[in-house]
Symmetry: C2
DNA sequence: ACAGGTGTACTAGGTAGATAGAACACTTGG
DNA sequence: CCAAGTGTTCTATCTACCTAGTACACCTGT
């Protein structure tokens, strides 16, 4: 239910939280009108400082994905699903581009990347079963 | 020839440099016995501080990929190609795993990731031609 | 010998991210 | 009304990373 946070990742925690909700809302949960977990609750759940959650939520609010309702919570906007779907695809594309750039620059072929991805997907499926 | 550095990336510059040489050496250039560009030259080329290059080279030396030769330069070791090939595959795998974890956690299917990767590869090929 | 290139080491300062703790403003339900 | 929950704001501190500048130790070709 709650995002998996890696403190050792070079990606800032607040950004990991932001990305998580973009992906979730793009998928349909939570829907417009529903609320995100409160700043304090999420902070407690993730064992991080509330201010870090505030930081993440401010990013989402700035993008028009949620609106802050004092004394109530952070409400998912009507436009959120559309915005998040676009952003999600953009984010995945950017990551893939980074891998491709780094790999080809280092002399690795795109075909090899494709093969590794297929292997990873199969490994994940096997671990599930 | 020289690595492309993104100062705005969450990945530290010294780590970007480190990754670059791992990929290059895994591919066969430079070879064992050859030298990496000097701390000062690379720093000048990348418009960064020499200390940052030192940091990157220390990582490579710690991994047994290069040996520092005072007054001469940083020499690629005999074991470097083997080490770098392993590390390169590990690094790409880790990146792919991160994307898969984030995406599936957010409700995106692995098949969709595969499709996006194919699109990106094709786009890159088209841009070349 | 020496000049110019190498790696190495050190102190200092700046920024971004995260933490810590406190205080304030608002809404809701009892 | 008021207690408990919400979002908001603030100062302070810590760490990692990068920059800046300097100095030192070493090797090589002339």
């Amino acid at each position: 239910m709650f995002p998996i946070i890696r403190a050792d990742s070079p990606v800032p925690i607040f950004e990991q939280i932001e990305r998580y909700w973009v992906f979730r809302i793009a998928t349909g949960h939570p829907q417009p009108g529903e609320f995100l977990p409160s700043v304090r609750k999420l902070a407690q759940k993730l064992l991080i400082h509330p201010n870090t959650v505030v930081n993440a939520y401010e990013q989402l609010e700035g993008a028009g994905i949620i609106t802050a309702r004092r004394g109530v919570g952070m409400e998912v906007t009507m436009e959120a699903p559309g915005i998040c779907k676009k952003r999600r695809e953009e984010m995945v594309k950017l990551r893939l581009q980074e891998i491709l750039a780094e790999s080809t620059q280092g002399g690795m072929s795109p075909t090899e990347i494709l093969r590794l991805l297929r292997v990873e997907i199969k490994t994940r499926e096997d671990n599930k079963a």
